[in-house]
């Protein structure tokens, strides 16, 4: 199979089908090879998860053998860039760790400044707008958590 043939064959549905089959096999194998799960009263703890993974396997096979309807999903086509997903999640994790170690106010300011810079066409030119938006969000977060909802954040959080 050359690259073009593989691309034509690998429709969204088939990739989903393959992923479900892999999930079904991993889950079923884990259940089969993980020994006994407690006392088997009635159906036992393994029965339902095993059924679920078999169902996943079946739906995966159904998607894989389904006649292809082009290489696009039928509904609204959603644009997702893997780099942007990793960036968003990465920044989110960093923000959370910063909140725990450094404190809420500084972390929120840094996080919002970096996100707005990424989402603005010309960050240097629009720095005033970015700073104002960042300050507003920080004030909203503080007001919401501390004044309106009286949520007690763990001690290292407050700074």
């Amino acid at each position: 199979m050359n690259k073009v043939t593989i691309k034509k064959y690998l429709t969204y549905d088939r990739i989903s089908g393959l992923s479900l089959i892999i999930l079904g096999i991993i889950g079923s194998s884990h259940i089969i090879f993980s020994g006994k799960w407690g006392k088997n009263l009635g159906l036992g703890a393994k029965f339902m998860p095993q059924i679920y993974f078999i169902l996943i396997l079946i739906t995966g096979i159904l998607l894989l053998i389904k006649k292809g309807e082009g290489d696009k999903p039928q509904g609204i086509v959603i644009f997702v860039n893997i780099r942007s997903v990793l960036l968003f999640i990465g920044l989110g994790i960093l923000y959370f760790l910063f909140v725990l170690k450094v404190g809420l106010i500084i972390s929120t300011v840094i996080y919002t400044l970096s996100l707005y810079s990424l989402l603005t066409n010309n960050p240097l030119k629009n720095r005033k707008q970015i700073c104002i938006s960042s300050t507003i969000v920080t004030i909203i977060v503080l007001t919401l958590f501390e004044i309106m909802l009286h949520i007690v954040l763990p001690i290292p959080l407050l700074f």
Partner: protein, 505 residues
């Protein structure tokens, strides 16, 4: 009667009215911004639900839900961009009506029809939920298992054109809820040796991740891509229409009554479809539009700015608001993603959805019923008054809201249990939501599977223990057999109706 009076008194307390009104305001705002929907707003509220009194938090959630469905039609009419998926059916006639020089009539027709449809649906909920819950009190494990299968099959298979994906999504939800403890034996399972997962996966990070974080990731991805490829569109969002004459665009009771037939078709259709697990507000809007066109004396005007073409889908999508709670209140089975989040909020307030919910929590449920009704009038008042403001808000760029919403989601989830594992679950659920959306998997069945999983497993295993050696015990109850037959009949019926409405559109 005394309880009803106390409930009315509670519902009309200043705090409940204020929370509900704030919810409506937030809901219309969220709905009016393309890319954001009521699901996100309600999911974001979850971590904070236990911080305020049940009547206030539930009133606010109801307000967001009702407001967001109408809010979606503002951008649909003014800019031809549906603010929420439920408003997609309104675009065709709404935007044309605006271009024809009738933006005010179009917006107000949408508002009045939405409120009419919503009130009708709420009344049906109030009058049906109590007797249905009474019937459900006679259910045992066999009947409940049949009911869970009925709900799961409907919500999975009724997702238009993606039955297999709907089923897969539902089963993924069941797998997620199977992680943790076995509901009968207390044995840890599927936790892969991770100690923190022994107690199972918490509801809040899953729901907030699936509904809110996934949408934020998608919006961020889109905005960032536009920035780095310098493809920022500069569309004239105002739209253009010449010779606008405000006198010819005045809304009157006569216009409202001339569209009443279409509104009632929408209200009836939306209520019926909303009560079925899985069908959802966008299907209700499309089916209502198709039916209204079929029974209209001016069918030729549909698609060219017909006010009936706005009234029917708007009444239809809002009429799902009350009806979607019928299965939740009567049987404890959420029929949609929103109902699932609402069910989670009830659980967090110590109210277990199900047949005994109304009898055990009569006061709070009656308060909720009263709030349901007057929230529509608050929606009417706020939306009518602030329409010009919402028109401006709807032009707001999503990129300014992404960081704020994400911070609220992240910190809200963390502070709900002060658990770091919840943050990981939130982010993983967010990525899972993105992967599923990207591959056109519906999210509703996943949430339903997650919510009803433990109950379904418990009822099956209890039924089999009671049945002992009898292999056909699950099929010996007439109610259960009726439910299995109903599953098949409903599937065939709805499949036919949806296919027909697709053809008509």
């Amino acid at each position: 009667m005394d309880i009803l009076l106390v409930a009315i008194h509670n519902a009309f307390s200043a705090s409940v009215i204020l929370y509900t009104a704030f919810g409506v305001f937030l809901g219309v705002t969220i709905g009016a911004i393309p890319g954001l929907s009521g699901d996100i707003g309600i999911a974001l509220l979850l971590p904070f639900v236990y911080k305020v009194a049940p009547a206030c938090s539930l009133g606010m959630m109801l307000g967001i839900y009702k407001g967001s469905i109408f809010g979606g039609s503002i951008t649909a009419i003014l800019f031809g961009i549906p603010g929420t998926p439920a408003a997609a059916a309104t675009v065709e006639d709404g935007y044309k009506a605006k271009l024809n020089g009738h933006p005010q009539q179009a917006l107000l027709t949408a508002l009045y029809s939405s409120v009419t449809g919503d009130i009708f649906s709420d009344m049906v909920l109030i009058f049906l939920a109590i007797p249905m819950a009474g019937i459900a009190l006679n259910f045992g494990p066999v009947e409940f298992f049949a009911l869970y299968i009925f709900a799961l099959m409907l919500i999975s298979l009724l997702t238009r054109g993606k039955a297999v994906k709907g089923l897969a999504s539902g089963v993924i939800g069941l797998i997620i809820c199977a992680i943790g403890m076995d509901p009968m034996l207390g044995t840890p399972r599927l936790n892969f040796g991770i100690e923190q997962l022994r107690g199972g996966i918490s509801l809040i990070p899953v729901l907030v991740g699936i509904f809110a974080v996934s949408e934020l990731i998608i919006q961020f991805s889109k905005e960032w891509h536009d920035i780095i490829t310098k493809k920022l569109e500069k569309i004239d969002q105002q739209g253009t229409f010449s010779k606008y004459n405000i006198d010819k665009d005045k809304m009157s009771m006569k216009i409202y009554f001339s569209n009443l037939k279409a509104t009632m078709i929408g209200a009836l259709t939306g209520t019926f479809i909303g009560a079925l697990p899985g069908a959802g507000s966008s299907i209700a809007a499309y089916v209502s539009y198709g039916l209204a066109r079929r029974f209209s004396k001016h069918a030729e005007k549909f698609g060219h700015g017909s006010l009936e073409g706005i009234a029917a889908p708007e009444a239809g999508n809002n009429a799902t608001c009350g009806a979607t709670f019928i299965p939740l209140f009567a049987f404890g089975i959420p029929g949609s993603g929103i109902a699932a989040i609402f069910g989670a909020a009830l659980i967090m307030q110590g109210i277990t959805p199900g047949p005994t919910m109304i009898s055990e929590n009569t006061l709070i449920i009656y308060t909720l019923f009263v709030t349901l009704i007057y929230a529509n009038f608050i929606n009417l008042g706020i939306s009518r008054l602030l329409l010009p403001l919402y028109a401006r808000v709807s032009m707001m760029k999503t990129r300014y809201l992404i960081p704020a919403i994400f911070i609220i989601a992240l910190l809200g989830t963390y502070t709900s249990r002060n658990s770091v594992i919840d943050i990981w679950v939130l982010l993983i659920a967010g990525i899972l939501g993105v992967v599923l959306k990207k591959n056109d998997f519906p999210l509703g069945p996943l949430v339903l599977g997650y919510i009803i999983g433990p109950g379904m497993e418990r009822s099956l295993r209890q039924a089999l223990i009671i049945g002992g050696e009898d292999r056909f015990f699950l099929f010996k109850s007439p109610i259960a057999i009726g439910l299995y037959v109903a599953t098949i009949v409903f599937l065939l019926l709805i499949y036919k109706v949806v296919k027909k409405s697709d053809k008509n559109l």
